[in-house]
């Protein structure tokens, strides 16, 4: 294994040598590739929809798409109008103008619904049915206004949907088209008969950009009506998705520059050289741009999960350069010219940098098997980014060093040990001197953290990501409290036969479900509204019976039901298309409920499902809609987490064995890497931080990151141990040589993830805090636990050089590349 390692090291040395000789060719090639990939950036898209969490073949999404194909969008843009003086003629007048303007100007519109066009069927006299809108013209007198209010009271279909039960809110619902069709190529082509293929071509569901476009137009229109005695609130999934996208864009715009600023500060302080700042910066910038370019080519959108990538790549990518430049500058100081220095630095650090890139990449690659689609996408693109950063480092760094001048280094001066070295010396003595005590202390920490881990819970409440003052959050809260809610659960009842909905027994059961479901209360979730075809029939039946309240029932015979449906169809309303399929085989019960944590919906929907199974034993019942999507997302979290964590652990452990080259060291080293993760979950348990879209990523990402330090440590330790035969001496040399780089890269990582605490969306705040903490814990484990474990496992082979080192006779600055490369350890 050691021979393989040496061969690999020489490969990296030869690469650096080749690059140095062909520096201009290398620079030109890299520049060309980077520019080409950068050219793809305008094609990047953003997707913050709930559907983006699902793979295309996920049964939950398939059911949802089928539903949307049949009935259109279930989620609507809610505009709540809160008039200062109640539902007055002036208010209705404003509402009419707003309604009509929305109809005229909102793109991708299916329909606008409000009290203005709520369809009513009512009796007039003995023999006349009036089919009309609730009111088409604004009331001019108090009496007319009173009539409208009375009519609203008479039609329960609209309460808690288009008007709040306390009559303080009027609601305008904007429903977008579910599927956006490409324009017909040519007008006359529409006369041609369709084939299914032709119909499907270019067909797409409403995407994020279109959703945002709708949101922007609506808000622009509504802004004109502000300040007229009406307060406006916005809610509903489309408004929420647009708000999320805005948050995402804000966070990207803030965090990427902050990350670069952090890197600049760290590099300037650490290297105190312009080249030490510019080169790593160029490398990570190129890697980031190229990764985004590849995303654009692969049509991978920017999602909430993707948000971690830019800062992650920046801080991880810069670590590669730091490790090589640290050695490079040290060799310069030792008197080597820049060519030999860079070649030997790449030869020396290339392999561990490659190995750490691999482990980080595999930690991220574990997401590929995630059931959450946007996490799976991250599993492809993030490892690609990490490996790109490695390649840029290996090829671009020597080329830059070769082309541009490097300030000569001041010669090394012998003297007393620095503070850092004294600290490392102290650490060595404690950990290798009392390994058992140190290990037991860590064991105790791990046990305590493990106990706290049992308190961790799952959660998905994207609304809580928004600041409390955000317009959508405020609007959602208002509508959840005052109106029926803002989240739809769609219950699809399939009778299994054409005209099955003509069966009065089935319709009565649907009607009963509509009355009983609002009484269910689980975790304070209570439906504010349930609508089905039974409501339309009851209204029509009442109108046919002189508006007698006793006739507000489902008709008693299938003939009457069929004929009343004909009547309703003939009334000019197309409302039925939203409540049943065209063959009256499938009916829809729409349940409107408040927005809350998805995990809580599980129990609520489970209760409804149990009820529906009893209520519709002979029918097929499917649950879909946004509430079902939310539940599906939560389930995906759990399975995704299990899959990615197991994969990351197994693969990274195997990689550690291979990279370290010793079977017993690999699993042992993982102890030092697992404990920080257990500690993180312990903190989550104590602080009640749930596992959600972002925190679910922590485990695998941390594992991929923290093993990097362990690899660097063990890589050096193995050499030193072979050289000195003493654990203490080997640990000391390891810390003297790589300790600074480990601390610096860890601090850079930590700082990089702390940047997330500035995010607009709160989900990134905890993510940043947890990963930053994990990195620090891992650094502590590498410095304080790993040496103790090594001391427990390894015994001393030889002692003389160790004694020298312990006495500080061989300072770390005297490290000789030549000595190591020639394998002449007696030097």
């Amino acid at each position: 294994m050691a021979i393989i390692h040496q061969k690999l090291e020489s490969v990296f040395g030869r690469i650096a040598d080749w690059v140095y000789k062909h520096r201009f060719t290398t620079l030109a090639t890299i520049s060309l590739v980077t520019i080409l990939l950068a050219g793809q950036l305008p094609k990047l898209t953003i997707d913050t929809r709930d559907e983006s969490f699902f793979h295309q073949n996920d049964p939950t999404l398939v059911a949802y798409d089928q539903f949307r194909d049949q009935f259109g969008q279930d989620d609507m843009f809610f505009i709540a109008l809160k008039p200062e003086n109640g539902l007055t003629p002036s208010f209705f007048n404003t509402m009419i103008r707003l309604h009509k303007e929305l109809e005229e100007k909102v793109p991708y519109l299916d329909k606008v619904k409000s009290l203005i066009n709520g369809r009513v069927v009512r009796a007039q006299g003995e023999d006349t049915l009036i089919v009309e809108d609730l009111f088409a013209q604004p009331p001019k007198t108090v009496e007319e206004n009173k009539n409208i209010l009375n009519r609203i009271d008479h039609y329960p279909l609209y309460e808690n949907l288009l008007v709040s039960s306390d009559r303080t809110l009027g609601i305008v619902l904007v429903k977008a088209q579910a599927v956006i069709q490409p324009a017909a190529d040519e007008l006359m082509a529409g006369f041609a008969q369709d084939s299914p293929d032709r119909q499907q071509a270019g067909r797409q569901y409403l995407d994020n950009a279109q959703n945002v476009e709708i949101n922007d137009v609506i808000r622009k229109i509504v802004s004109k009506y502000q300040g007229q005695g009406i307060e406006f609130f916005f809610a509903g999934t489309p408004a929420f998705v647009a708000e999320l996208q805005r948050g995402l864009e804000e966070d990207l715009a803030l965090m990427i520059p902050l990350s670069f600023l952090l890197i600049i500060i760290f590099l300037a302080l650490f290297f105190r050289r312009i080249s030490g700042v510019i080169y790593p910066l160029l490398i990570v910038l190129s890697a980031l741009v190229s990764t985004l370019g590849i995303m654009a080519i692969c049509q991978i959108p920017v999602t909430n999960a993707f948000m971690i990538l830019p800062t992650f790549l920046i801080v991880v990518g810069v670590g590669d350069s730091v490790h090589i430049l640290t050695i490079f500058y040290r060799l310069l100081k030792s008197g080597l010219d820049k060519k030999d220095a860079i070649i030997q630095a790449v030869a020396y650090s290339g392999l561990p940098v490659f190995m750490t890139s691999l482990t980080t990449a595999f930690g991220l690659f574990s997401f590929v098997w995630a059931d959450v689609a946007i996490i799976a996408q991250l599993g492809y693109i993030a490892p690609a980014g990490v490996m790109l950063a490695f390649l840029y480092t290996i090829f671009l760094l020597p080329a830059l060093v070769a082309v541009f001048p490097v300030k000569p280094a001041r010669p090394l001066s012998a003297g007393k040990m620095s503070f850092a070295d004294r600290t490392f010396n102290c650490i060595t003595q404690i950990t290798t001197g009392h390994p058992l005590k140190v290990a037991m202390a860590w064991l105790l920490i791990a046990i305590l953290a493990g106990i706290a881990t049992s308190e961790v819970r799952f959660s998905h409440n994207a609304m809580s990501w928004l600041p409390p003052g955000s317009t959508v959050r405020a609007g959602t809260r208002l509508l959840d409290n005052k109106n029926g809610g803002t989240v739809m659960l769609e219950i699809i009842v399939d009778s299994g036969r054409e005209n099955g909905l003509h069966d009065p027994d089935l319709l009565r059961r649907m009607d009963q479900a509509g009355k009983e479901i609002p009484d269910f209360s689980v975790h304070d979730i209570k439906a504010g509204k349930v609508v089905s075809i039974a409501d339309v029939l009851k209204e029509t039946n009442r109108a046919l019976n002189q508006d007698a309240d006793s006739a507000y029932i489902v008709p008693g015979s299938r003939q009457l039901i069929a004929q009343e449906l004909i009547l309703f169809e003939s009334s000019g309303s197309d409302d039925l298309t939203e409540l049943a399929d065209s063959t009256y085989r499938v009916g829809r019960l729409s349940v409107l409920a408040p927005f809350t944590d998805s995990i809580l919906y599980q129990d609520y929907v489970r209760k409804i499902k149990t009820y529906l199974d009893q209520q519709f034993p002979a029918e097929t019942v499917t649950l879909t809609g946004h509430m079902a999507l939310f539940i599906g997302i939560t389930k995906l979290f759990i399975t995704s987490m299990a899959k990615s964590y197991i994969f990351a652990f197994l693969v990274i452990t195997a990689l550690m064995v291979v990279m370290i080259g010793q079977l017993r060291l690999g699993p042992m080293s993982m102890i030092a890497n697992i404990i920080p993760i257990v500690m993180i979950f312990g903190i989550m348990g104590v602080a009640d931080i749930p596992i959600d879209l972002m925190t679910i990523l922590v485990g695998s990402i941390v594992l991929g990151l923290v093993v990097d330090d362990t690899i660097h440590f063990l890589h050096h330790f193995r050499r030193a141990y072979d050289r000195y035969g003493s654990v203490e001496a080997a640990v000391k040399e390891t810390l003297f040589n790589t300790g600074r780089a480990l601390v610096i890269t860890s601090l850079v990582l930590c700082g990089g993830f702390i940047i997330y605490t500035t995010a607009y969306l709160s989900c990134y705040v905890w993510f940043g805090v947890l990963i930053a903490s994990a990195v620090l814990f891992a650094l502590a484990a590498d410095l304080l636990l790993l040496p103790a474990l090594l001391a427990l496992i390894y015994g001393d082979k030889r002692t003389a050089p160790a004694a020298d080192l312990a006495a500080g006779i061989i300072p770390p600055e005297n490290y000789s590349i030549e000595a190591r490369d020639t394998g002449d350890e007696s030097k």
Partner: protein
């Protein structure tokens, strides 16, 4: 001004006169030649006292079909037109009857009655909105009633005033509603109609549905001359969103006869309740 009568071609007549609004369109100058053609369409003999059996096949986007069979009767009463329809199929709606009187006076709402045999009641349906779907089909009420020529401006299709379909030459003419009110009443923003040059029958049309991306394509599949009157006995109306068919209605007329003995008293509530 004589109305275009729906009796002549029945359903096609419907689409004949399309409507349309839109501010820019109001600025379009009327083309005298186009209007003259539409006047010839309007003046064509559409027959009277007609009886027919109608089969309406409604197909949704998934190919699910519903079939309705209807016996239809129509008669002119002065400038007004009376229609009486009895549902024959499916069984649940058999004997359900629909009576309407289409008044020539544009200011007067049409009268409509529906007889529900299960309830043994006839109800008058009062609505001024003709833009809703007619009995679940892809036609709306405006398609069933006559339209005033003066409600529209006409001009030729800018991409070619002549269009040929299956070797048959047509005039391609825009029918643009003169006011927003007409658009709202009838549900179409504008319509492009194709008038056969040899007999002045509209054999195809495209209607722009108000407040929607949808287009309705009407296509006459079979045109027959019955008792000297051109009748579209097979036509199809397809509602499309972009390239996708949203819904489709196929109408077939059989047993079409004109000049039958239909008394005015036949078009009555009593007859609806009595059945045929």
């Amino acid at each position: 001004m004589k109305n275009i009568s729906i009796n002549s071609l029945f359903w096609p007549g419907v689409f004949l006169i399309a409507l349309l609004i839109s501010a820019p369109s109001l600025a379009w100058a009327e083309d005298a030649a186009a209007r003259a053609i539409m006047e010839r369409v309007d003046a064509r003999d559409d027959g009277d006292n007609r009886t027919a059996d109608m089969e309406m096949i409604l197909t949704d986007r998934y190919g699910h079909q519903r079939v309705r069979r209807i016996a239809s009767f129509s008669k002119d009463k002065g400038p007004d037109t009376m229609h009486l329809m009895f549902f024959l199929h499916p069984a649940d709606v058999k004997d359900t009857a629909f009576l309407s009187i289409d008044y020539d006076d544009p200011e007067r709402d049409d009268d409509q009655w529906l007889y529900l045999p299960a309830l043994r009641k006839t109800k008058r349906i009062a609505t001024s909105d003709k833009s809703g779907s007619f009995m679940g089909s892809d036609m709306n009420y405006s398609d069933m009633t006559d339209r005033e020529l003066n409600h529209y401006t006409y001009h030729f299709f800018e991409k070619g005033r002549e269009q040929v379909f299956n070797g048959v030459k047509t005039w391609a003419i825009w029918a643009i509603p003169r006011s927003k009110k007409i658009v709202e009443e009838n549900g179409y923003e504008k319509e492009l109609v194709f008038v056969r040059q040899d007999n002045h029958v509209i054999i195809r049309s495209i209607a722009w549905v108000e407040n929607s991306q949808d287009l309705k394509y009407m296509m006459v599949n079979r045109l027959e001359k019955i008792d000297g009157i051109w009748v579209a006995t097979d036509l199809q109306i397809t509602r499309k969103k972009g390239k996708q068919t949203v819904h489709k209605t196929s109408l077939k007329l059989t047993q079409v006869r004109f000049n039958q003995k239909l008394d005015e008293s036949f078009f009555s509530i009593r007859q609806m309740e009595k059945g045929i």
